[in-house]
Amino acid sequence: MKRRTLFLIFVALACACTGTLTAADLRAIPGDSVYRFDATLSDQSGTEFHLGERRGRPLLVAMFYTSCRYVCPLIIDSVKGVEHALNETEPAHLRFLLISLDPARDDTAALKSVFDKRKLDAAHWTLARTSESNVRTLAALLGVRYRALADGEFNHTSALVLLDREGRRIASSEALGATPDPKFMAAVRNALEISTK
């Protein structure tokens, strides 16, 4: 009986870890897609998800960390700037994913606190954390460069990266602030048109 319970727990854990993506699912994703990286992340509510589950709609991704004093609040402002620049109908198709560079300190509670403080809309926004090794791989896939500083802060480039619905990098912007770069906005609108066809 005990053994059977243990077995069931094991099966449950195995399912939780492997999620819904099979090797065949991964192979069906284009080779130039960031979604070929099979990473498990967890969101501001502690719910786990696979990066590849974001496939199907364009996604705006950036990396940040919650204790950051300088650029990170601006990164959220910049993403909000893109959200506001879109008209009423478009945002439903664009989702926003901000991934922490600092998984050691950015636990679910820290993400949740920023999520609430910045009044983000859970239908479109996700603040996420993942393992340190995954952070390095994701940063490499997104072209974000970063370095941990001696005082616990991070030095990092601050790109907003636009992925098309297949997860391909189609545009990025280093411009920060509430007014988005017009070229980048054009790419966002273009991606949304494609996805609504």
């Binding site: 990286f37 390095r136 896939l141 001696a150 991070f154 030095n155 480039t157 280093e174």
Partner: protein, 258 residues
Amino acid sequence: MRLAALLMTVLLPSAAAGDFVRLPGQAAFTSILKYTDSDGKVPIAPFELMTTPVTNAQFLAFVVTHPEWRRGTAPSVFAEARYLSHWGGPLSLGAAAEAAQPVTHVSWFAARAYCEANNARLPTWSEWEYAAAADATRADARKDPAWRDRILGWYAKPANVPLARVGQGSPDLHGVHDLHGLVWEWVDDYAAMLVSADNRNQADPDVLTFCGAGALATDDRENYAVLMRIAMLSALEAHNTTGSLGFRCARGASGDVQ
């Protein structure tokens, strides 16, 4: 060739993974990178490093057992089209790639996967820089003009000559070969060297492009050999490959991954 590679992985697991040697580390190693937050002093914990760069034969053994990393199979997001392009085929070295030559045309993702599969990791930049500071008798020979001249002599050599086999010549003090003079090498945190970030469009580049302090400078401009490595690594993206860029793995002092 495929059978040979399979036999090699079965019969010679340690050779396939590469030989590691222990390096003692240093409490405050003086890096050529003078970040304002750390003043260029980096603690290097004891660690193990492969005595030679990973060879074509070793990497072939890896792709035999890891089909997802074969040329033509590895997604382009992890390895650009030039990935292993000097090999005869996905599972054969061919005439242009010798077994004992260092493997090149490998992306950072592929190098990382190789090390992971061998219970190891890529060295950090600091570990690599610390290891590469040694000569045959000293752990840090960088101030010696002879050390610098020897390395710069390599840069003066034409790049169209075939790569030598790994492990030729005498090892350094730690028993490590080929840190200079053969290939450039990937490091795990190559993307942490924020020297190429273009921040010309920002009003206040120091604050806006980077989160916090930590700008990069160097006070050792004479050390071209290492500065050239930094310039090259900072210009690359993780899926890039070149004909002169290989890697070796590192692991913790007790043989664990960390």
